[in-house]
């Protein structure tokens, strides 16, 4: 080779061997190698050839369809990180959560969104004049709607009709990330996934009564006033089920450590003396004894069941985020199935009308008698709740969001606009 002395040639041979080894093993290049490559077209060309060989072999592997629910999980995790990266503080990172092991990698993006959220935090609350910033959860509380926002401050608003009558910031070590809310009497329980807790909120007047830590992360919540005074059951991100305020009593329903994702919720519901719990990772419905919390039955329904709602006849509706609404009998078995568009993850039922929300941008109405499916585009519908007068309230996240009340024909009765201030 013209112009190359023997030492150079030997050095290049060594470099090329190292390149072969590192590309083969999928390892990154050392700074020394990079420095050499920058000044050596021969070794550079060798690296190009190796990378092309690698790419050609990769492209020759036959494709394989991944399970459908993975897409739901990827998209909802992406959506969550887009908004939630600012909530990832040391406490969350330090947790040995398989699902969260990529969080530290997000800090680049977090730096940007974190700044925005911090700006929002500095904006003083305007009290009752406040609009609804980034609503995430809506609950039919005693005498009105309680709206919880993932706005950085964990703002809670109480609405009477379309008017905000009270507003407070729930605080917390991390900016709150509400995923679900349930009502029990004059209390509302809110799952806060960022702080791994359930907030007990009083609505007359609006105040945070208590905070229950759920160290494994809250993945699902239900309240029942059937038994003595009422109970709140929760499911953790790691697949165990417990009663709020009863830390000794917790039963794991997950058969194996799966891929927990805090943002993909599970449904918990007491019906017919059984606690129904979805386990979306395995597509199962678990039936538990509500007293002992022992698992008394499991039914594989497939897909990714994430929410549950009771029906008048003792049946239960289960929402499969892979795109099905299921009617289950008292034993948890599927007795009817409606195919749904998209990947809905929240369910509200009033009589023979079910509404489901898909955060990707759609609300879908299902007529449980005729089977008719009617979609309605919405920007970021985060939550839907059935109200006692037969209407539904929907929380719409994002900049143009807010809270909307629709009748059973999907006609909007009123909308309270969102907005950051």
């Amino acid at each position: 080779m013209a112009g190359m002395n023997e030492n150079d040639a030997q050095h290049c041979e060594m470099v090329q061997q190292q390149l072969e080894e590192r590309v083969g093993l999928g390892q990154s290049l050392t700074p020394e190698l990079r420095a050499h490559l920058a000044g050596c077209p021969g070794c550079h060309a060798h690296l190009t050839l190796l990378r092309e060989l690698e790419a050609a072999l990769l492209e020759d592997v036959p494709p394989m369809q991944p399970p459908a629910h993975l897409k739901t999980q990827v998209l909802s995790a992406a959506r969550q990180t887009r908004i939630q990266t600012q909530t990832v503080a040391p406490a969350a990172q330090a947790r040995p959560h398989a699902a969260r092991r990529w969080w530290p990698l997000m800090l680049g993006a977090a730096a940007v969104s974190g700044l925005l959220a911090f700006g929002a935090l500095l904006t003083p609350s305007r009290g009752t004049a406040a609009a609804l910033p980034d609503p995430a959860v809506v609950v039919a509380a005693a005498g009105g709607l309680l709206v919880a926002s993932n706005d950085g401050g964990g703002t809670l608003n109480l609405l009477r009709g379309d008017q905000v009558t009270a507003s407070l910031r729930s605080g917390g070590a991390q900016p709150a990330w509400f995923t679900q809310g349930v009502r029990l009497g004059d209390r509302v329980y809110l799952a806060d996934a960022a702080n791994d807790r359930v907030l007990e909120v009083g609505t007359g007047p609006l105040r945070v009564v208590r905070s229950y830590p759920v160290p494994d992360g809250v993945a699902g919540l239900t309240a029942s006033s059937d038994a003595d005074g009422g109970r709140v059951y929760f499911k953790t991100v790691r697949g165990s089920v417990g009663r709020l305020g009863d830390p000794q009593h917790q039963i794991t329903v997950a058969r194996e450590d799966g891929m927990p994702l805090a943002d993909v919720m599970d449904g918990v519901l007491l019906s017919g003396g059984r606690l129904f719990v979805t386990h979306h990772l395995t597509g199962e419905i678990c039936l538990l004894d509500p007293e002992t919390l022992n698992v008394v039955g499991r039914v594989v329904v497939g897909g990714a069941p994430v929410d549950l709602a009771p029906e008048a006849g003792g049946t239960v509706l289960a929402l499969d985020a892979a795109g099905r609404l299921l009617r289950l009998n008292a034993g948890g078995e599927v007795i009817r199935s409606w195919p749904l568009p998209g990947h809905p993850d929240k369910l509200g039922v009033n009589g023979s009308v079910a509404l489901v929300t898909d955060r990707a941008g759609q609300l879908t109405r299902i007529d449980l008698v005729s089977g008719e499916i009617q979609p309605m585009p919405l920007t970021h519908p985060m939550d839907v709740v059935a109200l006692s007068d037969g209407t539904f309230a929907v929380a719409e996240g994002g900049g143009g969001g807010g809270v909307r009340v629709l009748d059973e024909t999907l006609k909007t009765s009123w909308k309270r606009q969102g907005g950051k201030r």
Partner: protein, 237 residues
């Protein structure tokens, strides 16, 4: 308070899976990707890359639809089903979190994702075996070198890729298996030697032969890059 914006578009309620406003544009880019010609693919990849940087969730959904099958195929081959499912999510979320790590001028999006998938999978295998140091957290190596080709060079790259495929198909079964074990499965020379029951020296000579064969095929097709040819000489003078 009524929302007039919503009232103005009630008709779209009645079309199933009503496309979002940007749908026309998305359909177009999907079409281009399906045509698979390098320049069009590159345009489509560049459009997706831009939208990913703008935090467009629909873009992530499209990338997933286009490439999750290929990525899952590779991961499943390297890791088996359970771990493949986990790493698959990791791959797409990394793209989502660091869209700037993908440069459409240097490589196709599919190649980028496949290389990242392989790298993450090998990482994971290493972590399990714990015989080698963990891969750095800096992410997947770019599939093409840093001073990679500009837009013009992409069609030549596609031709080179075809020649490499052809050259691989000319290898004997033993050579091909050795190459796949080394450059796909990420096995060390010693591991290959054990698995194929041949001396390490044979593994090395098979790999050297295969690389030489690739180079010869590319050269005879007039597609060689700056190897020990005239480009180097020019550069050195």
């Amino acid at each position: 308070m009524l929302d007039m914006t919503w009232l103005a578009v009630p008709d779209s309620r009645f079309s199933l899976r009503s496309p979002p406003p940007a749908a026309a544009e998305q359909d177009e880019s999907r079409l281009q990707a399906a045509q698979a010609g390098p320049p069009k693919t590159q345009e489509a990849d560049a459009a997706l890359a831009l939208r990913l940087r703008q935090r467009d969730e629909a873009a992530l959904s499209e990338v997933y639809d286009q490439h999750s099958g290929a990525v899952f195929g590779v991961l499943n081959r390297l890791l088996g089903d359970a771990a493949a499912q986990e790493v698959l999510q990791d791959v797409f979320l990394r793209l989502w979190e660091r869209p700037e790590s993908y440069d459409p001028a240097r490589a196709g999006l599919k190649t980028f994702l496949l290389v990242m998938a392989r790298s993450r999978a090998l990482d994971r295998l290493r972590a399990t075996k714990a015989t080698l140091p963990l891969f750095t957290e800096e992410g997947a190596e770019l599939p093409l070198p840093d001073s990679g080709p500009g837009p013009v060079a992409r069609s030549e790259d596609a031709q080179r890729r075809e020649q490499i495929r052809a050259a691989l198909s000319q290898l004997s079964a033993a050579h091909r298996e050795t190459v796949e074990r080394a450059y796909l499965a990420g096995e060390s020379r010693e591991e290959i030697s054990g698995a194929m029951n041949v001396p390490v020296g044979t593994v090395k000579s098979r790999l050297n032969y295969a690389l030489k064969h690739l180079r010869v095929v590319l050269e005879s097709a007039g597609l060689e890059k700056a190897g020990p040819g005239k480009e180097v000489e020019t550069w050195l003078e």
